[in-house]
Amino acid sequence: MPRIVLFNVHFYPDSFGGATIVCEETAHYLKEQGWDVLVITSTNTIHPYTKIRYKVKGIDVFSIGLPNNLSFKDTYYNQNFADIAETIIDDFKPDIAHVHSVQGMGARFIENMKKKGIRIFITVHDCWWFCEKQFMINSSQKYCDNNGDFSLCIYCVNDYTSSEIRVNYLKNILSAVDKILFPSDYIRELYKEWGFLDNKALINKNGVNHPRNDFKSESGDELVFGFVGGPGPVKGADIILEAFQKITRNDYTLMVVDSAQNIGKTWSAYKKWKMPGKLKILPSYNQSSMDKFYKRIDILLFPSQCKESFGLTVREALCRDIWVIATDQGGVVEDLDQNINSTTIPMSTNYIHLKEAIEWVLNNKEKIKNHVNPHKDKIRTYEQQVNELIKYYTVELNRR
């Protein structure tokens, strides 16, 4: 059986973010298929540039310590990390390496693997490869909407020259790997606009964990809104608060998930939120406990102020017959049908569009409570995603 090494900044037990879940699920399915799987991840809780090894949920993991205060260069060209990764790679001798989110780990280790003839796949989960701010959110916390003109970045980055060196370096890395995978058409187009070659680009749409057979809503009589994301403007938390404060009705509940608990932190800002309706702050959930959360809500709010590459929570909601209110931008919209399974709103820092959408939902309580998504079959499972990946891997391994 082939040997594969997966790279991602987070992994069990510090699961955080969509890329991590994709990486974890890939590891599981490949393991089930009999592949030899090793994950290399990073942590802040051990001494910088040392490593620990453990096995969690059946997966072998090496976790490499990163310092808290990485220099700008180390975030994308981390020689120390690369050296440690190289010794592990030399021992494990993988046939394939699949690289997910690696901010902080840098891309230097990819060069080493290339030299050893390992087939390299990269999944691009965000804009990190061309945007040092990772999500194209500028210094005034707004989505910059730059369609590939790097010279405009001069208004945003701290040091334009360093930034230019960074982008050119990462561009070279991407052009040297065997395949680049994108979770949505949208993000592939964006990378194309930014001049990243796409002759080796493939779409590998993310899967999600579908509900268990016994999944049944337990939200009660009133409508329950759910929100999963950090406080502040980027994920739209600010306009959510504003919109609810401007609505006088109080016959609803808003449930906010404190996902930061997954990495041992907490988002305390939510505790200060006040609105006419009821507010509940829920502890973070993981892939095995997420049904509990989705059972309790009727509507998922996703008013992201940046163009998401995929939008994992939106898909999780869609396959559970949960109505979605989301911005009509990025990879999110690819599975949304206005007024059929969702209400889409324009991307705007003004709360008014969101407020209108919420009010419409509140006025159509019966429809929302009984909503069944007719396009559920469009939402992929992880199994489907990984099976497609295995096809890609096999083609690449059989090449030459």
Partner: protein, 493 residues
């Protein structure tokens, strides 16, 4: 009266070395501990500060130093003074300096430097336990096939025979081998995760050792122990006459350490020792599975031997008797042949004596000054050239438990440069030397005398013994031969 003056001198001496060291930061010390006190900080540190465990500067952590060096802690001396006087030369470290050597100091979290090593280990163990708590059995599907030697690296001669030779042998078997000083916790922990086998060399039982063992078990690595002196055997340890020169305090600390070494060997299911004699002593102390891994002739010694044979002195009619001594501990050993040698020197004018290393020459010997050649130990090339230029080597050893466990490395080194050996009937010599075939064994002064005379008088006998000895060592006691013997003890992919 005399003691008071001695103490005063000692005090000023300590004051002086602290003052001249960059490890004492006056400003730091005053601001931290002497805010309202006009006392001289060094004086304060010498009188009370050290006992209270106060830090002399940000750079030196006395708690960590003592934790990392339990033998120093046992003696109860001022840690900074100890480090400046001895620790520095002996290569002793504490967490801070290890971090500096191996990692990037500027990126260290400060709390790690402040903490003694075992705290870091405890942290790692509890982190691992919290991760794998759901697992019924923590057994990695894949472990890098490498070996780590965690040891007390303070003794240079042990480094060569017990550590570097292991690295050479294991590498020749295809097992990459890392070495790490036991008090360099960060480095040791890092490599534990890389290895399937961990060998603990010459360590006394301590909190830090228990934690290493716990971690090794968690990551599924096999643990082995290795020792080359009977440090775990009370009688063996104290029959080493060298201890007579120690103070009461030092003696009680040595006695204590025997206990900890004994605990250490009993913790392991499998231990390596350097000689059959040491194996017997280990058995007597309760160790069960004891395997012999001899000191041997390694590649570096073979190179040095080549050099020695090329550069040895031409034969000039003088018969040179070689004696080499690695430490002052051998002074007593030399005494058992001294009278024999003096008689020989008197009787036979063609005899010269070549001595390398530490030896206290008595007045009786000094009379033959012009027939003595005394060199300090410099390097193995010079040492082996000195042997190769001689006609025979003597290895006198007292009959005691300590020497009973002694390795025959001095015999091997002499044999590899074709020089015959007469050794005392003890240690590993009795297993390796076949009396009269590949060397001579001597049990008392008469035997020493007769066998020395026989060798001195017969060039043919010398050549015979030397050739047999060389053949025996080359086919049985090089690192290559040892590798064949230990191959089966390791899982090799």
């Amino acid at each position: 009266m005399f003691n008071r003056i001695k103490n005063k001198i000692k005090y000023y001496y300590y004051y002086f070395i602290i003052k001249n060291s960059d490890l004492f930061d006056k400003k730091y010390y005053i601001s931290k501990y002497l805010k309202d006190d006009n006392k001289n900080p060094i004086q304060h540190y010498l009188e009370t500060g050290a006992k209270e465990g106060l830090k002399p500067s940000k750079k030196f952590c006395p708690i960590s130093y003592l934790e990392s060096n339990p033998d120093v802690k046992l003696v109860g001396v001022n840690p900074l003074v100890h480090y400046l006087r001895f620790g520095k030369k002996e290569g002793r470290t504490w967490l801070l300096s290890d971090v500096k050597n191996n990692l990037l100091l500027n990126q260290c979290d400060y709390y790690l430097i402040e903490e003694p090593g075992y705290k870091y280990l405890e942290g790692i163990i509890s982190k691992l336990k919290s991760i794998v708590k759901d697992e019924k059995q923590y057994k990695p599907s894949w472990v890098p096939n490498k070996v780590l030697i965690i040891g007390d690296m303070g003794l240079p001669q042990c480094n060569k025979y017990r550590i570097l030779q292991k690295v050479e042998i294991l590498s020749s078997l295809g097992l990459s081998t890392y070495i790490s000083n036991y008090n360099d916790v960060i480095r040791s922990v890092n490599y534990i995760f890389d290895c399937s086998t961990i060998i603990f060399f010459r360590l006394a039982n301590s909190k830090i050792m228990s934690l290493y063992l716990e971690l090794a078990e968690l990551v599924g690595a096999e643990v082995l122990y290795d020792i080359d002196d009977p440090l775990f055997d009370k009688d063996g340890c104290f029959s080493n006459k060298n201890l007579d020169t120690l103070t009461k305090e030092e003696k009680s600390s040595a006695l204590n350490s025997v206990k900890y070494y004994k605990q250490a060997i009993l913790k392991f299911n499998k231990i390596f020792v350097s000689t059959p004699g040491l194996k017997q002593l280990a058995h007597e102390n309760g160790a069960k599975n004891v395997l012999i891994w001899r000191n041997a002739i390694d590649k570096q010694t073979l190179q040095a031997a080549k050099y020695a044979l090329k550069n040895r002195r031409e034969h000039d009619g003088i018969i040179r008797v070689f004696y080499g001594s690695g430490s002052r501990a051998h002074d007593k050993d030399f005494e058992i042949v001294e009278d024999v040698l003096i008689n020989l020197l008197k009787d036979m004018p063609q005899i010269h004596l070549a001595i390398t290393g530490y030896t206290k020459l008595t007045n009786k010997l000094s009379k033959f000054e012009n027939r003595l050649r005394v060199l300090p130990y410099s390097c193995s090339e010079v040492y082996l050239t000195e042997i190769a230029s001689s006609d025979l080597t003597i290895i006198p050893l007292l009959q005691n438990r300590f020497n009973y466990a002694k390795s025959a490395i001095r015999y091997m080194e002499s044999s590899i440069v074709h020089v015959p050996v007469i050794a005392s009937k003890t240690g590993d010599f009795i297993n390796i030397i076949k009396d009269g075939v590949n060397g001579f064994l001597a049990g008392n002064e008469e035997e020493w005398d007769s066998k020395l005379r026989a060798l001195i008088n017969s060039e043919e006998l010398r050549a015979n013994l030397a050739n047999n000895a060389n053949a025996y060592v080359s086919t049985n006691l090089t690192t290559e031969n040892i590798a064949d013997n230990i191959r089966h003890m390791f899982v090799i992919n």
